[in-house]
Amino acid sequence: MAANKKSVQIGLGISSILMIFVVLCMMILSLLSYRETTQKYTITQRQKEYQEQYAQVDAHMQYVWYEMQVFQYDNVRAWVENETINNLLKEFEISYEIQEDVCILKKHVNDGQELMMRLVMDNHTLRMDAYQIVS
């Protein structure tokens, strides 16, 4: 009879070992998930910064371009020396180069990249010849 009354006994320490295993798994999973999310967030922030910077530079360039089209001159230098345009170029921090009948406007986008707009003199008006990112 005494032999029949034997019951299954859980040894001391089993629950601790189980807990350590479960907690370790949980910790690893949550840390991996946090790391992945942080990476995703960092990439998104970088993308956001770039797009915002690019949108701003693009808008400034377009603004200057449409303001330049209001005037008509005989030479390219006259456009950039016009008071309104010159003030805009200074305000938006746009640099310019003039080579005979060509005017190149450049604005810094981010590390090592610039948005370049090349304008060519064409019968008292300016024609946009190129509009691109240059490294």
């Binding site: 907690v23 999973l29 995703k40 967030y41 701003q56 377009q62 603004y63 449409y66 303001e67 209001v70």
Partner: protein, 127 residues
């Protein structure tokens, strides 16, 4: 009998300690996970806001002429019940067109600010 009782008390004590530490560890894990979840949601919102905003600017939506409108979850422009609020601020008035800023917000939190050049002929694209 006494030995059996001592063993039961030890087991019970161990179980109590295990439950206590497990609760603390689980609490920390839940905090980390919820933080990660919030960050992930925020990143998704920023991505969507950038996409919808850029799309509206590139398509020259006529809604850009309005001071405010909304984007729904799929990026369609609505006047109410949208997920993302959009405010248009004029930065500089030009001779023909204006230099503007598009502020995209969700639950009053600013997600992104996109600068754009608003054409007068914003009559194509979008709705």
């Amino acid at each position: 009998m006494r030995r059996q009782g001592t063993k039961s008390i030890s087991f019970f004590m161990e179980l109590m300690i295990v439950i206590f530490f497990f609760t603390i560890a689980a609490g920390i894990c839940v905090m980390v996970m919820s933080n990660a979840h919030n960050k992930s949601n925020e990143a998704d919102d920023i991505k969507k806001a950038l996409l919808y905003g850029q799309n509206a600017i590139e398509n020259r939506c006529m809604n850009l002429a309005q001071p405010s409108f909304q984007f729904d979850d799929k990026g369609n422009i609505t006047s109410s019940n949208g997920e993302y609020d959009v405010n248009i601020v004029i930065l500089k008035e030009g001779t023909t067109n204006d230099l503007c800023e598009m502020h995209i917000l969700k639950d009053s939190k600013e997600l992104t600010v996109l600068t754009f050049y608003r054409m007068e002929d914003t009559t194509y694209g979008c709705e």
